[in-house]
Point group: C2
Chain length 393, copies 2
């Protein structure tokens, strides 16, 4: 492996995690040469050269790898583009940036013959992208389904297992460093969505942009919903889901009522769990820490090492002669809590299976299309509503 | 990916599984050109060209990949050697052969610049070798521990969960195609051991030969042992284990009393589960079907596809400047059932923690070294004795 001198952008939770990991393994071949931060005046108890000028990294001829672990997606986009155009390999952890710009970044990798790695961006320490890229790269793959956001899962676990309030659980997740600095990214499903988009490129060769997808989170979930789940002996989990049906592909992020016999039922706290399903091998389950500075820092290290061995993603599935077509024309059984008749009429149930009404709230269990859910994504994101997929066992 | 014309050796459970998988995906680029079998006269309801002469494969210029999925380790060794020396890439599923000859086969790969892939040999459909090779290739890795044999785990599950007798469970495993044709390979831990040896080469760069390792299975387990496990709210699982402590490496295959809070407690039936533990990322758990023709056939397909992309193992860890030293000087807490005082005296307990005596049998819970267990491996393999690791929680 060649020597790696890193130019690091960002020294938050993940950047600091990477620093700790590298210091611990005391590698001969991997060093952080310089760190670019926004607030250079901040006191940091580490031995590293800091700058607030990106040029100090890009103009340093010793630096042969850029690692970008900043929060700001637009700034991350500029850094990654500039790195690729300067033919400096780059590792990124910014899923929002990737979710929006990955197609362009694939082109730039090719054009400038320079790799961009981002396994650390999806599922923290679980090597899901590498596995999809290298091992599940044949035609047997049917679906990828999982809990991809550690922070919202942590909150759900605290609510379900420890009867904590939503706000207290969110506060705790933030204090422990699991939450994004903007918590709506976690809670409303966006973080899971960006990861799902990245996963789908590798799993099925298809890119779908964030605004074409149904994304719904847990921010409007309330005690009635939790009670409903408990009565059915299920847990609510925020699930990202991509599945191929012959030549059609469905994708979405939605809370789901998960029964005990499912692998992801037992994925608790800040952990992530991914179920990869294929013909013949059936289901594979991968499970590990999905959030936190040190697990993510060690995932970044795996990307760095891979760069040292000149590894690059090949996006093999994009070369398939026939790619599946993304569709929202797919029916889910859902649980839908609502207040007004107007809200009730947002969704067109092809089949109503259960109904409940009371002075406080009402719910329906029935079958709707993803297209119907997507059409009313914003109207469903209010305190009086909550939707969750309610799969048959 | 280039076109692949396979010369297939063996058409048992896995060979047939591969045939089914390929027929199902109807690949343009992967074909079975010819199949070499021992009993050519056997009726088979498949469309393929059969031969019983290996030369028909080695001399066929169209064949650019050998896939070897036969039972006989010595014959497999000859095929793989001949393939490498003929510079034909080769995929093997024979863990016994690999466990004995892997060092020589690594040399041959290098000498003839030809790859040998064998992910399918360890853990069926779980890509454990590929992950160790590509993702856990840095210094953070501490241990790999898992249930690597689907057949013995299937038997243990039937005994523990369905109160089936040992013999009935073994028969069922054989009928379902999970067991090796020689069941002692599964039951006495040899199959797990070979897989552990292969895993360890990739995980820590160290090769230890089968006869240097303590290997102990479940064939002498009886109702008293099952009762003991149940009383402690544990399950008996056959566990392969490699762990690094600074510059020392321990390795062994031993039944373990596993408590509920462990990931592998829930690995049931023919499934395999592997826990990879590292600094910073803590534990990763991978879970999937570890036996059966179709799951293993699909794992062989992943190796075949990887060959199509010119993938090869790099055995990076073998190049580390300092490799850990294998040692048996490590103490385990064990449960030991025995009958005679002579058997009792085989093991030297540095600490005795529990003792039980009766007319029928006796047991001790106490601390012994692996070296002590290894010294009496054969004497412990009798009906009157059973040893299982009994880890602290």
């Amino acid at each position: 492996m060649k020597n790696i001198n890193i130019g690091l952008f960002g020294f938050g939770n993940v950047g600091r995690g990477l620093y700790d990991v590298l210091r611990r393994i005391n590698s001969d071949s991997v060093h952080i040469k310089r760190v670019c931060v926004r607030h250079i005046e901040k006191q940091r108890d580490v031995v590293a050269e800091f700058t607030d000028n990106p040029d100090d990294i890009f103009n340093d001829k010793d630096i042969n790898l850029i690692v970008e672990v900043i929060d700001d997606a637009e700034a991350a986009y500029d850094i990654v583009k500039r790195a690729l155009k300067s033919r400096i390999p780059v590792v990124s952890g910014n899923k929002k940036m990737l979710g929006h710009h990955i197609l362009e970044l694939i082109d730039l990798q090719e054009q400038f013959n320079t790799p961009l790695l981002y396994d650390a961006s999806a599922c923290g320490s679980i090597p899901v992208i590498r596995n999809l890229e290298e091992y599940y790269d044949n035609d047997l793959l049917c679906s990828v389904k999982g809990i991809l956001n550690g922070s919202s899962n942590f909150i759900l676990s605290k609510i379900f297992n420890e009867h904590m309030s939503y706000d207290a659980a969110l506060k705790l997740a933030q204090d422990l460093g699991f939450a994004e600095s903007d918590p709506t990214l976690d809670i409303d499903g966006w973080d899971s969505l960006y990861k799902l988009i990245i996963i789908t490129i590798h799993a099925f060769g298809v890119y779908v942009s964030p605004d074409e997808l149904f994304t719904y989170g847990i921010s409007t979930m309330n005690d009635s919903d939790i009670r409903f789940a408990r009565e059915k002996d299920r847990r609510i989990k925020l699930v990202a889901h991509v599945e191929k049906f012959d030549d059609r592909l469905i994708m979405c992020v939605i809370p789901q009522l998960i029964s005990r016999n499912k692998y992801i039922y037992s994925v608790e706290d800040e952990f992530n769990g991914v179920v990869i399903k294929g013909l013949f091998y059936d289901k594979q389950f991968m499970f590990g820490r999905g959030a936190g500075g040190h697990p993510t820092g060690s995932a970044v290290l795996s990307d760095i090492t891979a760069c040292g061995y000149n590894y690059r993603y090949e996006y093999k599935k994009r070369n398939d002669s026939v790619l599946p077509t993304y569709t929202m024309d797919h029916t889910f059984r859902v649980y839908f809590r609502y207040k007004s008749a107007e809200q009730r009429n947002l969704l067109h149930f092809s089949k109503v299976r259960e109904q409940y009404s009371s002075e406080d709230y009402n719910y329906i269990v029935g079958d709707v299309t993803i297209a119907n859910l997507k059409a009313h994504q914003e109207e469903l994101r209010v305190k009086d509503c909550f939707v969750a997929a309610y799969p048959f066992d």
